[in-house]
């Protein structure tokens, strides 16, 4: 075979120098048949070439072509699932689950293999989900512990310091009161920080007052602290989602707003929650400098958001908005029966 014909199979296989099975089987069968036909013609044909012999040769050639075609068809049927499997195995990524080999039916060995591969993917995705869930639960419980410690130890001690400073102020000479006031202001600011960090770590409002209030408090907090004005539109009542989904939606909103404050270079954002009977949509849009470059790998934050979204069976997209500059994050959570509980 020529070198250019050699090129094609190598490209298709991507790796390894081999001729595809289809070519090999068809070539071998064809060679065998051609040899058989030649033999037949040479051995059985009459001594002198006659029109009869030519007719027979035509019949043989047509039969040859037919057999080759049937060969190609059968072998292709066998090989096609293998090619699909190969292609999928190359690009499959557990971070975006649900990819399967189409039409994988166990009607041949290759089909069986494709179906088994699909089963394996499903199992891996299930295990991956379980691991993510456990990791996230461990994160959350660690956050709660840290928040509690911060509040119980650091916060309380700072409160005591403030009280003692207040008392000292009444007893100290006037010339020291300025310095004392500064110390008081610093202790107050630290106490405020402790409270803020503890609240970030442990969204108490979420447990106590539900998702709508928690999202409202979150966006207000960002307005105050990060200087990002968050306009919010929360269509209440938000349907009951269950604590896992509520926490996920809250954390995704928190991460998205953090990204706006850190990277977008935008001083305003919009947080919208809307719901219809079978879909809850959270949208966070900013007017900043937009995504760094399309197609780049997700950062840790975005990966975490995708993981959380995947766990509650929601779809997360981060794209430039249809109109204007900035970035739009969209989380779509199917409600009730439509939701895959994973």
């Amino acid at each position: 075979m020529s070198s250019s014909a050699d090129e094609a199979p190598r490209r298709r296989a991507g790796r390894g120098r081999y001729r595809p099975l289809l070519q090999r089987v068809v070539a071998a069968n064809a060679a065998l048949l051609v040899a058989a036909c030649l033999l037949t013609v040479l051995v059985l044909a009459p001594r002198k070439f006659s029109t009869v012999a030519v007719d027979e040769a035509i019949v043989l050639l047509v039969a040859l072509a037919l057999v080759a075609l049937i060969n190609v068809f059968l072998v292709h049927r066998f090989v096609a699932p293998l090619q699909k499997l190969n292609a999928l195995a190359r690009r499959v990524d557990l971070a975006s689950p649900g990819q399967r080999i189409p039409d994988a039916r166990p009607i041949s060995e290759a089909g069986e293999l494709a179906a088994t591969f699909n089963d394996m993917l499903a199992r891996l995705e299930r295990e991956q989900r379980e691991v993510s869930r456990r990791v996230l639960a461990a994160h959350e419980s660690e956050r709660l512990r840290v928040a509690q410690e911060l509040h119980d130890e650091v916060g309380q001690t700072l409160t005591a310091v403030l009280l003692q400073l207040s008392r000292a102020q009444e007893r100290l000479p006037r010339e020291l009161s300025g310095e004392l006031r500064e110390a008081q202001a610093a202790a107050r600011a630290s106490l405020e920080d402790v409270r803020r960090i503890a609240t970030d770590l442990r969204p108490e409002t979420l447990n106590d007052l539900g998702l709508a209030s928690a999202l409202a408090a979150l966006s207000d907090g960002f307005g105050r602290r990060a200087g990002v004005r968050v306009e919010r539109q929360i269509a209440t009542p938000i349907p009951a989602l269950g604590s896992e989904a509520e926490l996920a939606v809250y954390r995704i909103a928190q991460e998205a707003l953090t990204n706006v404050a850190r990277h977008a270079g935008s001083d305003s954002a919009e947080l919208t929650v809307s719901s219809d009977p079978d879909l809850l949509t959270l949208t966070i849009r900013d007017h900043g400098r937009g995504l760094p470059n399309r197609g780049a790998a997700d950062g840790n934050g975005v990966r975490g958001m995708r993981e959380r979204a995947g766990l509650i069976g929601a779809k997360l997209t981060i794209e430039p908005p249809l109109h204007g500059a900035g970035t739009e994050l969209r989380l779509e959570l199917p409600l009730d029966g439509a939701r895959c509980s994973g």
Binding site: A137, E140, S141, L144, R145, Q148, H151, D152, G155, Q156, T157, T159, A160, V161, L162, L163, Q164, L165, S166, R167, Q169, E170, R171, Q184, R188, L191, E192, R195, T199, R202, E204, T205, N207, D208, L209, G210, A212, S213, A216, T236, P237, I238, P239, A240, G242, S243, E244, L247
Partner: protein, 240 residues
């Protein structure tokens, strides 16, 4: 956090400082489960003129027993205590024959807690970041019968209202508005005892965490959260 100014008008008919109410010795009780905060409060309050710290307690049950035994004018109570919380203590104290005024002193003094304080009958809710002088002023104010609760935002008030059974919603509104309990009891034609019972029942639906749940409220709560168990929430229209 503290917006006592909003309530100042209500208190304007109060006696001016310098009359017998402020000259009298104010007997205080301090309830906090953190030793440094207890000490800080005690030292601060004890050295104020006319203030005397009569009792220092570390938990709600002990404080309730103590208040029955001796006269207390003002109790400064941390919201989160080891066992039963500050609001539980507040309700116990307000049922005494000569009830002390209660100041809830919390690290998380937000609107939600303020609403619960209004229902529990607390006189004031203060953030733990306040200055000592503000705390002393608050003590003097509640002794004069003022109510220093931040105004609860309308959306939150509506949301909390929806958690309650319909027949309690009007009572909740009145308590939130700071109408004196005697007046409420008279208007709704019920006894003070009945009013207290209904307010207690209401708190169970309103409180951030079930206050009556158990004596080991806090560890249990902590455990719940670590396991990420959803706490049972009363059904309400908002929650769908």
């Amino acid at each position: 956090m503290l917006t006592g100014g909003r309530d100042a008008k209500r208190g304007s008919e109060d006696r001016t400082p310098g009359t017998d109410a402020s000259a009298k010795q104010v007997r205080l009780m301090i309830v906090d489960d953190h030793p440094a905060v207890r000490l800080g409060l005690q030292q601060l309050l004890d050295c104020q003129p006319n203030f005397s710290v009569a009792a220092v307690c570390i938990d709600a049950e002990g404080a309730a027993a103590r208040a029955e035994a001796e006269r207390i004018d003002v109790a400064v109570v941390d919201y989160q205590l080891g066992g039963r919380n500050g609001l539980w203590l507040c309700r116990q104290l307000r049922r005494l024959p000569d009830p002390p005024h209660v100041i809830i002193f919390s690290a998380f003094a937000n609107d939600h807690l303020a609403a619960c304080c209004a229902v529990a009958g607390a006189g004031a809710v203060l953030n733990k970041g306040v200055l000592g002088s503000e705390l002393c002023d608050a003590v003097r104010s509640v002794v004069r019968g003022r109510r220093l609760l931040p105004r609860v935002s309308q959306p939150l008030a509506d949301m909390l209202r929806r958690r309650l059974p319909e027949r309690e919603q009007m009572l909740f509104g009145m308590l939130l508005a700071g109408i004196p309990r005697v007046e409420i009891a008279r208007t709704l034609a019920m006894s003070a005892r009945e009013l207290n019972c209904r307010a207690d029942a209401m708190l169970r639906d309103l409180e951030p965490l079930p206050g009556e749940a158990s004596a080991s409220d806090r560890p249990q709560r902590r455990l719940d959260r670590e396991r990420l168990i959803p706490r049972p929430r009363p059904a309400s229209p908002l929650r769908g």
